[in-house]
């Protein structure tokens, strides 16, 4: 069986960039959930369902 090539290691600069990107994605996801939640609350208050 052919041996798989090892995945190239990330440099410290790469890791820093990846961490920053993951943090931004996480924050955007939280913002999205908050937005959907508030919108749902207001729609329910307005009597037009979720």
């Amino acid at each position: 069986m052919e041996q798989r090539k090892p995945v190239p290691a990330f440099s410290p600069a790469d890791m820093k960039r990846r961490k920053a990107r993951a943090l931004v994605m996480a924050l955007l996801l939280v913002a999205f959930i908050v937005i959907v939640f508030i919108t749902t609350v207001y729609k329910i208050k307005a009597g037009v369902g979720g």
Partner: protein, 314 residues
């Protein structure tokens, strides 16, 4: 043919995932987005009726995300020509920071999310219009017109003119003459704005094979067309006052700004080729942005100050 040649990268290089958050932000064309957001906010305030501030915020957010998605899809499709133009060579795809497939996925997800969110949060009429706008910019303009006809930006300009109409529709649930007057302000502004740019970036567009008006019809014809559209923009500038969207403050400011806009277009026409002509084109390009900003800022200022609009005569 080597595998590296086939796949465009060495096989031990990571496949994508190299773009930073900033690269993805650049993919959204933030400068275009800022104009879209501003004109949409004005549409939201200018529309007759009331919208809850949260749903107003949701409208602007969805329009901004939809505009960003359009920018990402435009960069995905145009990566080949962006790479050869000086102005666009550093964009995230030609620079290698983001792979075309990543940009495509990013754009499609954002486009779908913005339309669905607008439909669920506000109303389906505005969402349908946002979907049409994204389709118009990506498919009609980017894929269809841009590389085929020198009228590309005339027709494609409609995509940039829709945001205030979408916001208007979010408030009223419909499109009327008032919304159309905001649409026409941007629609008539687009050709002189981009043709002024094309006059001093002609070489770039020619290198990329984009049939901008100066390459196809010549510089003299372009200057004539710029002047004609600037003259038509006088009528477009009057429309918000005639349709009851704007009042005296707008009318006074619009008269001054539009007179200056036409004067700049006359300068471009009169000075022709040479250093003076190039400078005039650059001045017109810069001033055109100020003109559009002023027109919408005047409408917004009137609404925020509670000044009365004229009665509609159209």
């Amino acid at each position: 043919m080597s595998l590296e040649h086939t796949y465009g990268h060495a096989l031990d290089e990571p496949l994508g995932g190299q773009g930073s958050a900033r690269d993805y932000f650049e993919l959204l064309k933030p400068r275009v987005m800022s104009l879209v957001v501003f004109t949409a906010i004005v549409g939201l305030f200018a529309a007759p009726g009331h919208i809850h501030p949260w749903f107003g915020f949701m409208t602007i957010l969805c329009i901004a995300v939809g505009a960003g998605a359009s920018g990402a899809l435009n960069m995905w499709y145009d990566a080949d020509i962006d790479a050869v133009m000086k102005r666009t060579a550093n964009r995230p795809i030609p620079s290698g920071a983001i792979l075309p497939g990543e940009a495509l996925g990013f754009g499609v997800v954002l486009a779908l999310a913005s339309v669905v969110m607008l439909a669920l949060a506000v109303n389906w009429q505005a969402a349908a219009m946002l979907a049409f706008t994204i389709f118009f910019y990506v498919v009609i303009y980017t894929m269809g017109l841009k590389r085929r006809t020198p009228q590309n930006i005339v027709i494609g300009g409609a995509a940039g003119a829709f945001p205030p109409v979408i916001a208007w529709t979010a408030v009223t649930g419909t499109v009327d003459l008032g919304a159309l007057s905001l649409f026409l302000l941007i629609f008539m502004w687009t050709p002189p704005h981009f043709w002024a740019l094309a006059l001093f970036r002609e070489g770039d567009y020619a290198k990329a094979g984009i049939p901008m008006l100066p390459n196809v019809a010549g510089r003299a014809e372009t200057r004539k067309q710029i002047l004609l559209y600037a003259l038509v923009s006088v009528a477009a500038a009057a429309l918000p006052a005639l349709t009851g969207v704007a009042g005296a403050l707008y009318a006074a400011g619009a008269a001054v700004m539009t007179a200056a806009f036409v004067k700049q277009a006359v300068d471009v026409y009169r000075l022709g080729d040479g250093e003076g002509g190039d400078k005039a084109a650059k001045r017109l390009f810069g001033f055109s942005i100020l003109w559009l900003f002023s027109m919408f800022a005047l409408i917004l200022a009137e609404k925020l100050l509670g000044l009365a609009a004229f009665s509609a005569v159209l």
